[in-house]
């Protein structure tokens, strides 16, 4: 009887819940990225000096503005989980889609691992400042378990929490800027004394582009929520564009405060974990130090939370289309989340968080992200050719096409060279991994893909087909 009652009460089809608005999209995009303002970008200072890091902030900011514009247009039309993976499936083909799906899952899972590792280590540092020596591993595992639990139980709660802690982390940067009296140059901020030109010349500036990615890495993650947004055509472009504007402001403020308080030799040092927190420490204000400690911790937690959400959606979409075992394409009947994908990726993130050094984990994430950005200009070009303006309804039409696509492609090429300068072996190893995975997909997995079943969008036939 109970089984019959359950069977009768089951809906005909389980879908991810459409409950999100523009604020959640902003929280997802900025939440994943903002941790890069609190740590990581400062290695650009070590490569190119303070001014080199500022140039990287602008150049990579332009790269990500192009990413945000292109994503806003395509995702407002391809409103499905999987983001760029789904776009690649419609615009280019299965092999590209499989690779893009892997880029996404790897980029977000590795970033998630780095974030929870940092969260645990921050708590260890905080306890150390109070005179207590504690291990970081239990707190890393606890952070991951709590975030996995929240993600498992529903997307609305997950991204509402992300909105609150991301806004708090962003506010902490603003409070630090105000606390350093930028209207009174020389009182606290010492740019005149600390800015020293380009210590390694323009090759240093080029090398710094690699770490400039930290300022913005992950804003493209807003696309993963496309299937769970109430009004994709409105919320996705609005959330994404507001997100990139927020990040451009946060990046500029972060550079301004840190480079006005800390010498570039210290800021770019390998062991400098949290530059904004250290900048607050240098002001001598205990209140600012506590606020920036909380801001740094919140930013790491928000980033890990968003990454669990995004990695699981990309994995889920690939399972649903049979690019991976279909088992991963399941939706929880009560919480309407991709629960199997969430649970499958959590142990992988835990292993990387506990056993792989932070710099290695983040490099994997950056390289996968960069490969994804290089695909986007080709994607945009094909999208406009296959479905020209007017042929399908778009929530957002980005201006000056094809200029943003060309700029994005050129900047990605330059940044690849910058990455090769510092992490050539990792870049080549990563490429080898994707080539082997592509062979597996092409010669084994593709036989299980039902080509017709993947395309369920009510779109007209593309131009030329």
């Amino acid at each position: 009887m109970a089984d019959q009652a359950i069977a009768q009460s089951q809906p005909k089809q389980l879908q991810l819940l459409k409950v999100l608005g523009p604020a959640h999209i902003w929280a997802l995009g900025v939440g994943i990225v903002l941790v890069g303002e609190f740590m990581g970008w400062n290695y650009a200072v070590g490569k190119g000096g303070a001014l080199g890091a500022l140039i990287a902030c602008w150049v990579i900011g332009l790269l990500y503005t192009c990413v945000a514009m292109i994503d806003s247009e395509i995702t407002s039309t391809v409103a499905a989980a999987g983001g760029q993976y789904t776009q690649a499936k419609h615009m280019i083909g299965p092999l590209m889609a499989f690779n893009v799906g892997l880029y996404l899952v790897l980029a977000y899972t590795m970033l998630e691992a780095g974030d929870v590792q940092v969260a645990g280590q921050l708590l260890q540092i905080g306890a150390g400042n109070l005179g207590h020596d504690i291990p970081w591993e239990p707190y890393t595992v606890m952070t991951l378990a709590i975030l996995a639990f929240i993600n498992y139980r529903g997307v609305f709660m997950t991204l509402t929490i992300n909105f609150v802690i991301t806004a708090a982390a962003f506010a902490s940067i603003i409070i630090l800027v105000i606390g350093t009296q930028p209207w009174n140059p020389g009182a606290v901020l010492l740019h005149k004394d600390l800015l020293t030109g380009l210590p390694y010349g323009w090759i240093g500036v080029l090398a710094s582009l690699h770490f400039g990615i930290w300022y913005y890495l992950g804003i493209e993650g807003t696309c993963q929520a496309a299937e769970e947004v109430r009004s994709p055509g409105r919320a996705l472009p609005m959330g994404t564009m507001l997100g990139i504007i927020t990040l451009l402001i946060a990046a500029a403020l972060t550079w301004y405060v840190c480079c006005g308080l800390l010498p570039w030799e210290y800021l770019g040092w390998d062991n400098e974990l949290a530059p904004l927190y250290d900048a607050a420490h240098v002001t001598g204000s205990p209140l600012l130090t506590v606020i920036l400690f909380i801001g740094t911790l919140f930013s790491a937690i928000a980033s890990a939370n968003g990454c669990i959400n995004d990695a699981s959606r990309a994995w889920f979409s690939m399972g649903r289309d049979r690019y991976l075992p279909t088992w991963f394409g399941a939706v929880h009947p009560r919480y309407r989340t991709p629960f199997r994908s969430i649970l499958f990726l959590i142990p992988i993130a835990a292993v990387f968080a506990l056993y792989i050094p932070l710099a290695q984990v983040i490099t994997f994430s950056i390289l996968s992200g960069l490969l994804n950005y290089t695909f986007m200009p080709i994607n945009m070009w094909k999208f406009r050719r296959m479905w020209p303006l007017g042929s399908i309804k778009r929530g957002f039409e980005h201006p000056f096409h094809p200029l943003p696509a060309i700029v994005l492609f050129v900047l990605c090429t330059v940044t690849f060279f910058a990455v090769y300068l510092g992490y050539g072996r990792q870049l080549l190893a990563m490429m080898a991994f994707y080539i082997i995975a592509s062979c597996w997909f092409a010669f084994y997995r593709y036989r299980y893909v039902k080509r017709g079943d993947q395309f369920t969008m009510p779109w007209p036939r593309p131009a030329g087909y």
Partner: protein, 56 residues
């Protein structure tokens, strides 16, 4: 105190992971695979079916 907090962290982690595992097993047992795998992209869950019905 701090040693106690560390044990609490392990205990909270274990409790949450066990709960998720329990729920995962119970959902897989209670619902058919056809139902769990019925999701399709491009389908509006909250308004699509309703608006189509009204439109017809």
């Amino acid at each position: 105190m701090w040693q106690f907090m560390t044990w609490v962290a392990w205990a909270v982690s274990a409790a949450l992971i066990l709960w998720m595992f329990w729920d995962f097993v119970s959902v897989n047992r209670r619902y058919s695979e056809d139902m769990l795998l019925s999701s399709r992209e491009g389908v509006d869950d909250l308004f699509g079916e309703t608006s189509k019905t009204k439109g017809n």
